[in-house]
């Protein structure tokens, strides 16, 4: 009979291979990166535009342009655009984040020609019909009114405001910002930002030469260069954090968000700090989960993350805890953060986290799209693939002394902003 109390032998992950992006240049100089992998006849094409010319008096400009891009061109109505994409079983997505506005097309390769023609139309000739802008304003205001009833949404807004003030990272849009949004503002921003000089294209999937030629035909010519633009630039001084409490009558749970401005990917400590973060709150077995969920049962989930943006990095811990446990949960969170500064992580825990992180990294390289995502992480941080070999090497070699030192430097609980929405 087998002895079930003994774990089978195992190995640490050894070979991690990334499919590197190949850099090409379209006829007009637009950078095209190709990640060729996989066996399915499909591609994902991303057109990525930097967010530019941040103006807090027109805070929704970039977001609204991205959202309304597919709502009409001088030749096609919103319905015609949607029908052309949908008919071929393709998916058109517009995504907006703090640093970039993205237009993504997922399509079977056989329909690339037909669907890419629509993408070309919308990124070069969007007209933002007044009626569509009005629908957008109305629907967004309605969505906002629902979100404002959610404690975690309010917590996120208050936290971002505390860290990043009135920059694009910290601004909380309200009804009046939607009311003030005009079609002229949209056209102004569209003409500035959606231009070849501000565009990076990344294609992933089974990408063969004809696909590259098609992309060049659409986006490598007949696209005006446009006007000079100003890249968004912000800097955030370190400061002492405070508590931000928003009481909600009758709340069953309180949303917590705790953290501060931190380092971004290009900083030499970034990978090491990710190891520390994993131990604290970055995986299911983390200290925060083990204590606050699995031992105390105060919450359904708690986690922490280190996020890298173009102009900053930040660190946060987030959870929704039973209102009656709010005070105890805060005490335990502070205790776990401070413990990392005083007690070295045990060899067993460190070995576990190292293996977990290596396995998780290997598992994150699932397909062509994930390899392209890995490329975006380094490219937009101004780094090359050595970042990943360094990352793997850091995980393999980091010591508990180094982690103690990092915690001492980066985890100052008094410097953390502490947002509580609900009851405490």
């Amino acid at each position: 009979m087998i002895n079930r109390t003994i774990a089978p032998a195992f190995r640490q992950v050894e070979n991690i291979e990334l499919v590197e992006a190949e850099q090409l240049s379209l006829d007009n100089g637009v950078k095209l990166f190709v990640v060729d992998a996989g066996t399915q006849d499909l591609v994902r094409i991303e057109l990525i535009f930097d967010n530019v010319n941040w103006d807090k008096t027109k805070p929704l400009q970039a977001y609204a342009v991205n959202s309304l891009l597919a709502e009409g061109t001088s030749k096609l109505s919103a319905l015609e655009i949607a029908e052309r994409v949908d008919y071929y079983g393709a998916f058109l997505q517009t995504d907006y984040n703090y640093d970039y506005s993205v237009v993504t097309l997922y399509t079977l390769t056989k329909h690339m020609e037909a669907t890419l023609a629509v993408i070309k139309e919308i990124v070069t000739d969007a007209v933002f019909p007044e009626e569509e802008v009005e629908t957008f304003r109305r629907n967004q205001k309605q969505k906002l009114s629902v979100n404002l009833e959610k404690n975690d949404f309010l917590g996120r807004r208050a936290f971002n405001r505390a860290l990043f003030g009135e920059t694009i990272y910290g601004y909380s849009a309200g009804n009046e910002d939607y009311d003030n949004l005009t079609r002229d503002q949209l056209l102004e921003y569209f003409n500035l930002a959606y231009r070849p000089g501000n565009c990076t294209i990344i294609v992933a999937g089974k990408v063969e030469q004809p696909a590259i030629d098609t992309i060049n035909r659409f986006f490598g010519k007949n696209w005006d260069k446009g006007l000079a633009l100003q890249k968004n630039f912000f800097s955030f001084p370190l400061k002492k954090g405070t508590e931000h409490y928003f009481e909600k009558e009758g709340a069953l749970q309180s949303a917590l968000r705790i953290g501060q401005v931190s380092i971004s990917r290009s900083h030499p400590d970034f990978a090491s700090l990710q190891v520390l973060n994993t131990i604290l709150g970055g995986y299911f077995g983390s200290r925060l989960m083990a204590n606050i969920r699995e031992d105390k049962g105060y919450t359904y989930g708690i986690g922490s993350a280190l996020v890298s943006l173009k102009n900053a990095g930040y660190f946060f811990i987030a959870s929704e805890v039973g209102a009656e446990f709010c005070g105890s949960a805060l005490t335990e969170i502070e205790k776990e953060v401070n413990l990392l500064k005083t007690e070295p992580v045990s060899p067993e825990e460190l070995a576990l986290v190292k293996n977990y992180m290596l396995g998780s990294f290997l598992g994150s390289l699932e397909n062509a799209f994930s390899h392209a995502d890995k490329f975006k992480n380094i490219y937009f941080s101004g780094m090359d693939y050595s970042y990943y070999s360094d990352y793997v090497n850091t995980i393999r070699t980091i010591t508990s002394e180094k982690l103690l030192e990092l915690a001492g430097f980066y985890y100052q609980f008094d410097n953390f902003e502490r947002v509580i929405v609900g009851k405490k």
Partner: protein, 411 residues
Amino acid sequence: MVTFNRFVLSNGLKVLVHEDYTTPMAVVNVLYDVGARDEDPEKTGFAHLFEHLMFGGSVNIPSYDEPLQRVGGENNAFTSNDITNYYITLPAVNLETAFWLESDRMLSLAFSEKSLDVQRNVVSEEFKQRYLNQPYGDVWLKFRPLIYKEHPYRWATIGKDLSHIEQATIEDVKAFFARHYNPSNAILVVGGAVNTEDVKALAEKWFEPIEGKAKPPRNLPVEPVQTEARREIIRADVPLNAIYIAFHMPGRTDQGYYEADLISDILSRGNSSRLHISLIKEQKLFSEVNAYMTGSDDPGLFVIDGKLTEGVDIETAEKAIWAELEKLKTELVPEDELTKVKNKIESLMVFSEMSLLDKAMNLAFFELMGNAADLNNETQKYLLLSADDIKRRAGNLFRRENSSTLLYLSN
């Protein structure tokens, strides 16, 4: 095309292997044929609570998560009204660790009181986070009992009420395990950089010694045919009025399921869909509107929900929804529109083959429904449907006496 090999162990455990060497990873998916529909009406939410307890240590291994993380693995699970599904992703070289962990918890649990105490709290917090502390969060807790009168789909997976979870005892846990967590009630799928012979050897080593028991019988009450329209109004502190309409529809393996699925795509998949164009863009009655199915094994629901534009009255909004449904009942869907929704299905199927975990879960799910090979015939079933099929199905679904309407109104 998702290829696989299949064998059955002497204790009744079905094993499927999907070899895919494009990845260095492996996935181990264990589906148990038990869900919230198998619960005692006085002890609802139990299948899901039980899922949490499956991570509280097994008979020979005190911690489930730790040894898995130590070999670079990750795992999770979910419970629905029909099934409970557990999955692991790990480097394929460490595959045996997954067999060791999964087989031990199929053999027996630790049945720790501490784990039960804590997970009761965790699930209570999950209940609050998802259903009680969110605007419109409780809608399905209230809507299900209006739609189902007999069938256990009348309660949500999380349970009818927090008190059911709070009252769960260790005896309940033991009885549930003994009844449902048997090899003959499970399907194991292993996928990724693995070969069938190795998987077979591992399965025989770790799973075959587990004692086989008969598959527990399932005798669920059949939901009586609904004969008149039902309606309920809830008032709550929410910012917008919302409307939910549910229709009874055929179960997952019926042809009617595929017809209804295409109808839901015609109505609300993508920005060229009918409800989006008509109700949001043209008539401006709604700020969001969706059509979808619960997709359950036993006869499920076709649902339309939407949030009304401020100032629009409920009656107007409701009429506008029905006008779109009437159109499907009386007019044939144009050829182009039908091709459009079929093309979407076809491309979704190709995209879903990019994810190893999705493939493994799909194989397990289709095996449960009868035969994993049907996964590869799925697209074909949609492509065969005609505009007449759609019209007939719409006529069958969208009848007043087959509808339940819930108005969720702002105080």
